[in-house]
């Protein structure tokens, strides 16, 4: 009897935490999304799909979705391409490559708030490092974070700067997992480096690429800290990523119903993204060694 119970006892604490803080909230988000509430009233009337209807009819929502998709569409390929390129140069176990890997990885473990603050300075108009560099080359100063056309690029840059090290480290692991013999075989067969990279390296790190793709798209849809610290979604909504909007609707405007509706939409979106990607890409990435 006890023997049968053993595994349940072992998983119970974790499952309890997960249930209370992850799964129950999904249900209550769904519930709240059908209600009208601002935290202040004692009751929360049921309003059906009103919150969804209103949210979806808002320009803000679509703008935010657009900005978020743009953020992902630019930053994810940029990160992956850069990371693969850099990783291919850093696979060798030399001192220099170790140091560079460390340098690249450092931002990943550094606090996002610190990075956001530091880059707020870097891209501040009058005293920032970026404009100092421009001045050095005789270019007029730029309002990086006040210009709606630039601000998103700045955030993409900062996010890439922070995450690149992670991608590189993962790629290095992926590249190192490719047996050296495959390269030896290609060398004996007479491959030019570019050709071998395209025909051997790229397909073989495909599982890694896939992994990073999933991770970084999911991440792109959840970026918040740098937005909150650097731009608060501005200027003029140019960096109003979904989670920032969620935060604003929920914890600034206190429209709990709409905030929950947005949370539910975000949830559905991410789950759908994950499923679609595994459908499309799944077929092309799995080899047995």
């Amino acid at each position: 009897m006890l023997r049968k119970l053993t595994p349940y006892l072992f998983v119970a604490p974790l499952i309890a935490f997960i249930a209370v803080f992850t799964y129950v909230p999904i249900v209550s988000s769904l519930n709240l999304s059908f209600r009208e509430w601002d935290f202040l009233t004692p009751n929360m009337p049921f309003v059906g799909l009103d919150n969804y209807r209103e949210l979806l009819s808002k320009r803000d929502f679509w703008a935010s979705l657009h900005v978020t998709a743009g953020f992902a569409a630019i930053s994810v390929p940029l990160r992956l391409a850069l990371a693969l390129l850099i990783a291919s140069y850093l696979t060798r176990e030399t001192l220099v490559s170790r140091l560079l890997r460390g340098a690249l990885f450092l931002p990943y473990v550094t606090s996002t708030v610190s990075i956001a603050v530091v880059f707020s300075w870097v891209f501040s108009t009058d005293y920032g490092m970026a404009n100092a560099a421009l001045r050095f080359f005789g270019v007029a100063k730029v309002s990086w974070l006040q210009d709606p056309t630039l601000a998103l690029w700045v955030l993409i840059f900062v996010n890439t700067w922070k995450q690149l090290g992670y991608d590189v480290v993962i790629y290095i692991a992926g590249l190192q997992a490719i047996p050296q013999e495959l390269y030896d075989a290609a060398a004996v067969d007479g491959g030019r480096p570019g050709h071998v990279f395209r025909r051997v390296t790229m397909p073989l790190v495909m599982p890694t690429t896939y992994f990073l793709l999933v991770i970084s798209v999911i991440e792109a849809f959840q970026v918040f800290t740098i937005v909150n610290v650097m731009t608060r979604g501005g200027p003029a909504g140019a960096t109003d990523l979904l989670v920032n909007q969620l935060y604003r609707i929920g914890f600034v405007l206190f429209d709990i119903g709409q905030g929950s509706a947005l949370a539910v939409i975000l949830f559905v979106l991410l789950v759908a993204l994950a499923l679609i990607k595994s459908r499309i890409l799944g077929k092309r990435v799995h080899y047995e060694a």
Binding site: E181, V188, D189, G190, P203, Y287, E288, A289
Partner: protein
């Protein structure tokens, strides 16, 4: 088809000690040479030097009469089969076989035709569109072979190509490789640490130890006249028994000699026979099909002997070991080197 001559090759990996200490080998065109030796002795390194995947520090590599030290791997007209076959897991069998040709810029139709021709010879046609993951060990081995054959190279290098197969398959693949050699007539340099493989496959065997070439000769030469105790002990199972000469012989003999007796040169008797024979206590008698393998303790040391099982229906406890001294080898105990014609003196 071209011969390979290595002349006093030395090699150290960057930051490491020297791994090959001046190896010279003269491989004839069309010959099947097996390089054997214990793990870490430098076999793979030697092969990679020939392939051009590593550069040697000293010495000369001549392939087909041309100095090849500075040739890139792809210009040496060599095909290589790696230990794990190094098949590209993301390519089909067809693509794997054709990849070498693709790298050399052969048009697609042509190289596929060639891949299919090769696959036919190797009876792989049915698998042309499978990926390596969906093949058995033996099939993978044949794909690796096919990839090398497609290139039409004059020389094949193989690094322990059978070490990942199970025993039955290994025996079967040996036969195939040997037949292939006969069919292609190419020069083959084959690395293994399995002495059975070496004896059965080679035209000539090169025995390597700690980066030194100990002996280079036909299997029979190596087996019958091993250059030293290491070679003698390394090839043949059960291994050769080594006994100090002075413990064996009642009469005074020169000191510092060791006698090597292969198990088949020892006859097991239940009672004391005539001629030189050692009384022995049987530590363990292992039934091995038609034979018993007897691990015995004698005054001269441990000895392994083989007895036909039908002569000993029981597991004997004490036996006499008759030694056929005409088949004994004599070695210098200190240097381990074989002393020619010394055997008869006993």
């Amino acid at each position: 088809m071209s011969g390979i001559t290595l002349h006093d090759i030395r090699k150290a990996y960057p930051g490491g000690p020297e791994v090959l200490h001046g190896v010279s080998l003269d491989i004839r065109a069309g010959e099947f040479v097996v390089v054997v030796g214990p793990s870490g002795c430098g076999k793979s390194t030697l092969l990679r030097l020939i392939a051009g995947l590593e550069r040697c520090d000293r010495g000369e590599i001549v392939i087909g009469g041309r100095r090849a030290n500075d040739l890139a791997p792809q210009n040496r007209d060599i095909a290589m089969i790696f230990q794990n076959y190094a098949l590209y897991p993301h390519m089909t069998v067809r693509q794997n076989i054709a990849f070498g040709l693709e790298l050399r810029g052969m048009p697609k139709a042509e190289r596929n035709a060639r891949a299919e021709a090769v696959a036919r010879t190797l009876q792989l046609e049915a698998y042309l569109d499978r990926k390596p993951g969906a093949l058995s060990g033996g099939q993978r081995q044949r794909v690796a072979m096919g990839r090398a054959m497609a290139r039409n190279a004059s020389t094949f290098l193989m690094d322990e190509p059978l070490s990942n197969l199970d025993n039955a398959l290994r025996v079967a693949m040996r036969t195939e490789i040997k037949e292939l050699h006969r069919a292609l007539g190419a020069t083959i340099v084959y690395v293994t640490h399995d002495q059975t493989e070496a004896l059965s496959l080679a035209d000539r065997i090169a025995v390597l130890k700690d980066g030194h070439l100990l002996q280079f000769g036909t299997p029979a030469e190596i087996y019958d006249t091993p250059a030293d105790m290491f070679v003698a002990g390394f090839l043949g199972t059960p291994a050769m028994n080594f006994l100090p000469l002075d413990r064996l012989s009642p009469s005074p003999v020169p000191p510092g000699r060791t006698i090597g007796l292969r198990p088949e040169a020892i006859r097991v008797h239940a009672d004391e026979p005539s001629g030189l024979a050692l009384p022995a206590k049987v530590l363990l008698s292992e039934m091995n099909g038609a034979e018993l393998i007897l691990h015995c303790e004698t005054d001269a040391g441990r000895v392994t002997a083989i007895a036909p099982r039908h002569e000993f229906s029981f597991h004997p406890a004490r036996v006499w070991l008759g030694c056929d001294m005409s088949r004994a080898h004599v070695f210098d105990s200190r240097t381990g080197l074989r002393l020619e014609h010394a055997a008869m003196e006993v």
